[in-house]
């Protein structure tokens, strides 16, 4: 693994911390590095501590990393809060025009005051203090100021060339100030060879929106909620070019019912939300299941319960996704592991929904959804289209002779073909009441049992794409197990453990329902102890595995639910505590 740099900027919310981080991240990305960003923010607009972490390297990153080498602090709180992440020999740059910084002396960290606001004022406007900070950072990371020009041009070009030049001046002065006063350097590695690579910068939420468009979704109904709203922003920007509709619903109940209505009409539609909104959708989830109407629901999880920690990450909606709604319905729950999978699994969700005529839930989370990162392209060639059993008018005319049954319970695979409103000979009523084959509400017991069995049968033997990935040696006695967004962290931890001599494999779910039982059993072959790592308090994945696959005595938990994403160190430490070194190795 090449060398890397951890950089962080922090201050009060509303001070432009985000845009500082964003400019630096995009600049590093455009220079050809790989970045992974993580935004720490609070559910308020002004005040409160916020910070923006960038990890930069010469290879694809899947985690924001534990270490900070360079910390740019706009207030003392930033130093206090982020101190534990600073490495020995690291450097803190603080705005000496606004405060006199103090630091604990438990570690050898350089502390350098730079009059960021003062320099910005001299360059024309104190507001440009963040550009001065970027200039200072450029000096520390040994990046020539001119390399920032394209990004500065993009960001400020609209405001006129003068503003661009002023910002470039602020940046250069920060650079020069530091060059003259300090020898501390954290150079970035040599630029990687990007030949043949599609070097892209995206967040999971953007990828989800892109996946929806690519997957044929042409109607999104949603209600704003952190951390899912960015999906709506992306879709709003691109859907109109493809005739797609974005509806800002009055609430999440409306949103999902709209998505169901459009799907009933034959248009691929979805809703995107987070925990509180997902809870409001439970009744309609059942309607989709009962009426066999396709629908895609994206839940970008955040810390619950209730309003919880609205701007913090968690993986605690697993139970709700797998079990939520009264009664029993067929459903599919996908848990993308990466930005690329946010794209592909969202696109695929529409095929599954159409094919199985049931709701498909895509469980992402704040960490995956809101972290921007550099990737080597999107798997666009893997996108396919399967509209499932849709009847043509000719087929319907043929069926009409014996009487078309929308909910024909006698079909072997349980999937009875659909007609779409407007088609001749296809008239039927989709409904949430129990019904007979033609869609009439009935209560007779035999019909009820047959229809329940029909719906349940649809997912029997579900085989679509792998639900479990396995990394590491086949015969490893230990396993790290997770689902969704923790893939990157677990994978990096596994590599670190392997380097330290601990043979561990990494088993990860990108689909939790239908539970990929056979795949999981195969993955667990030879595993004596497994550490199920998940961001919730009750071990929901562990419970699901126990229930579906067993292994009661072999499963241990590594749980985190304080709102922060899991660190590499936490995984590694937990692994050391769980897996006896040398016993099985």
């Amino acid at each position: 693994m090449g060398s890397e740099v951890g950089w962080k900027v922090g201050g009060k919310q509303g001070e432009g911390i985000d845009s500082t981080g964003e400019i630096y991240a995009i600049a590093l990305h455009r220079m050809g590095y790989y970045v992974f960003t993580y935004r720490h923010f609070m559910s308020l607009i002004k005040g409160g501590h916020t910070n923006y972490k960038i990890r930069a390297a010469d290879h694809v990153l899947r985690h924001h990393g534990d270490d900070v080498h360079v910390l740019v602090a706009f207030d003392q709180t930033t130093i206090d809060v982020n101190w534990p992440e600073l490495v020995d020999g690291g450097i803190v740059i603080y705005d000496s025009s606004s405060f006199q910084a103090k630091k604990p002396d438990d570690r050898d960290v350089h502390l350098l005051g730079v009059p960021l606001t003062e320099i910005a004022k001299e360059a024309g406007n104190p507001i440009m203090k963040n550009m001065v900070a970027i200039g200072v950072s450029a000096a520390i990371n040994e990046l020539p100021p001119e390399e920032f020009r394209p990004v500065v041009q993009d960001k400020f070009g609209r405001k006129g060339q003068q503003v661009v030049e002023a910002n470039m001046t602020a940046l250069s002065r920060g650079y020069a100030y530091f060059q003259e006063r300090s020898r501390v350097r954290f150079p970035l590695p040599a630029k990687p060879d990007l030949q043949g690579k599609d070097h892209l910068y995206a967040s999971g939420n953007q990828a989800t929106g892109f996946g929806a468009l690519a997957g044929g979704c042409r109607l999104l109904a949603a209600y704003p909620i952190t951390p899912a709203t960015e999906i709506m922003y992306w879709v709003l920007q691109h859907f109109p070019k493809y005739g797609g509709v974005v509806l800002q619903a009055e609430d999440e109940i409306a949103a999902i019912n709209m998505a169901i209505g459009a799907n009933f009409s034959g248009v691929r539609a979805m809703t995107s939300t987070s925990g509180p909104g997902f809870s409001l959708m439970m009744e309609a989830l059942g309607l989709a299941g009962m009426s066999e109407t396709p629908v895609v629901i994206v839940d970008v999880q955040r810390s619950g319960p209730s309003t919880g920690l609205p701007t913090k990450t968690e993986q605690s909606d697993l139970n709700e996704a797998v079990y939520g709604t009264h009664g029993e319905i067929p459903r599919i729950v996908l848990t993308p592991r990466t930005v690329e999978e946010c794209f592909l699994l969202t696109a695929e969700a529409f095929n599954l929904a159409d094919h199985y005529q049931c709701p498909v839930i895509v469980l992402s989370d704040l960490y995956l959804g809101m972290s921007y990162q550099s990737i080597d392209g999107f798997p666009v060639q893997a996108v396919r289209y399967d509209r499932g059993k849709l009847l043509s008018e000719e087929e319907l005319a043929q069926l009409a002779k014996s009487g078309y049954q929308r909910y024909d319970a006698s079909v072997a695979d349980g999937i009875s073909p659909r007609a779409l409103p407007g088609q001749k000979h296809g008239r039927y009523v989709a409904l949430g009441n129990e019904h007979n084959g033609t869609g009439l509400e009935v209560e007779d017991q035999e019909t009820r049992v047959n229809q329940m069995r029909k719906r349940q049968r649809k997912l029997a033997g579900f085989q679509h794409f792998t639900g479990v990935s396995v990394e590491g040696p086949d015969n490893a006695p230990y396993a790290l197990v997770g689902f969704g967004s923790t893939w990157g962290g677990l994978e990096e931890a596994r590599a670190a453990l392997a380097e330290a001599g601990l043979t561990v494999k990494h088993i990860h779910f990108s689909r939790v329902w239908p539970f990929p039982e056979a795949e999981f059993h195969a993955a667990m072959d030879g595993v004596r102890l497994a550490l199920v790592t998940e961001l919730n308090a009750t071990g929901q994945l562990k419970q699901l595995i126990r229930q579906q696959a067993g292994y009661h005595d072999r499963l241990h938990s590594c749980l985190k639910f304080n709102g922060d994403p899991i660190s590499l160190r936490e995984i590694v430490d937990s692994a050391y505590q769980t897996f006896p070194m040398g016993v099985f190795n």
Binding site: R30, G244, L247, E250, G261, R268, S291, F378, V429, E441
Partner: protein
């Protein structure tokens, strides 16, 4: 051309004499008169006795959740703008649990028609107070008489600037047919509230009651349904007990007309597959 026979579906399961028979009949007749084939019409209904109308209508139907006919119906329409979409349900369905959607549907002005079968009672759940029950109405959940003020659906719709507002009575089918026809023809969201007596659980708001008290705007040639302020006054004066087209604004642009990029051809007919050039342009936005 479709006739009433083409709209015949299963025999309705309402109590003999239920006002909902009249609404069903009027809706079918209006569709026939407008030359609509049954497969071009989708009835999206909520839950209640009234909600069964989608199953009895004879076109395509989506028998949706209690209170949620409107969100579903609006998207059914956006997905296929060639369809005629009717949302329908009871007063509990629309003004109780589904009230929020009603207000927002009026704001949005998507070209659908909303028919409420207003019987001032919860029928299917056997006789509880409804949001339109009069003060003092004795029901199973208000044994001493309701104390809450009833919802005033017409005034609410007028206040929200609903682009078409009408009220009918299932005891006057001829007029109801014409009201529904006009509502369907209206471009934008149209609302038809129908007094549809529940003969089993409401012994106050009966056919006789309406026959005796209803003011019919059709009898007043001076009434101008384009004047919203006058409409508000007229509804208040009649204490809501009136029928006819209360208000219409034929010039208001519908949601579909105002939506950026919304195609003239139904969405459902668009090719969903992205091409290489699409991907090239989209990937460019991630650099």
């Amino acid at each position: 051309m479709a006739t009433m026979v083409d709209y015949k579906a299963e025999k309705a399961t309402w109590c003999p004499g239920c006002g909902d028979f009249g609404v069903l009949n009027a809706l079918q007749k209006a569709c026939v008169n407008l030359g609509l084939e049954p497969e071009q019409v989708v009835v999206v209904s909520g839950i209640g006795c009234s909600g069964k109308i989608s199953q009895h209508f004879g076109g395509y139907g989506l028998h949706a959740l209690h209170g949620r006919s409107l969100p579903a119906a609006q998207a059914v329409k956006l997905a296929n703008r060639h369809l005629t979409v009717i949302a329908a349900g009871g007063d509990g369905d629309g003004f109780g649990i589904g009230m929020g959607h009603f207000i927002h549907a009026m704001r949005r002005n998507i070209d659908i028609t909303y028919v409420v079968m207003d019987n001032h009672i919860y029928g299917l759940t056997t006789g509880q107070a409804s949001p339109t029950s009069d003060v003092g109405a004795k029901t199973k959940t208000s044994p001493a008489g309701t104390v809450e003020q009833p919802i005033a659906p017409l005034q609410l719709a007028l206040a929200q600037n609903c682009s078409f507002v009408a009220q009918g009575f299932s005891g006057n089918i001829k007029q109801l047919v014409s009201l529904i026809e006009r509502a369907i023809q209206h471009k934008g969201f149209s609302f038809v509230n129908v007094f549809s007596p529940c003969v089993t659980f409401n012994k106050v708001n009966t056919y006789e009651f309406y026959k005796e008290h209803l003011v019919n705007l059709d009898d007043d040639p001076t009434y101008d349904p384009r004047d919203r302020v006058a409409a508000l006054r007229r509804v208040a004066e009649a204490n809501n007990i009136l029928v006819g087209v209360i208000y219409e604004d034929p010039d208001r642009p519908s949601f579909e007309e105002s939506l950026r990029g919304y195609p003239a051809e139904p969405l459902v007919r668009q090719d969903i597959a992205l091409q290489a050039a699409d991907y090239a342009a989209l990937l460019e936005t991630f650099r």
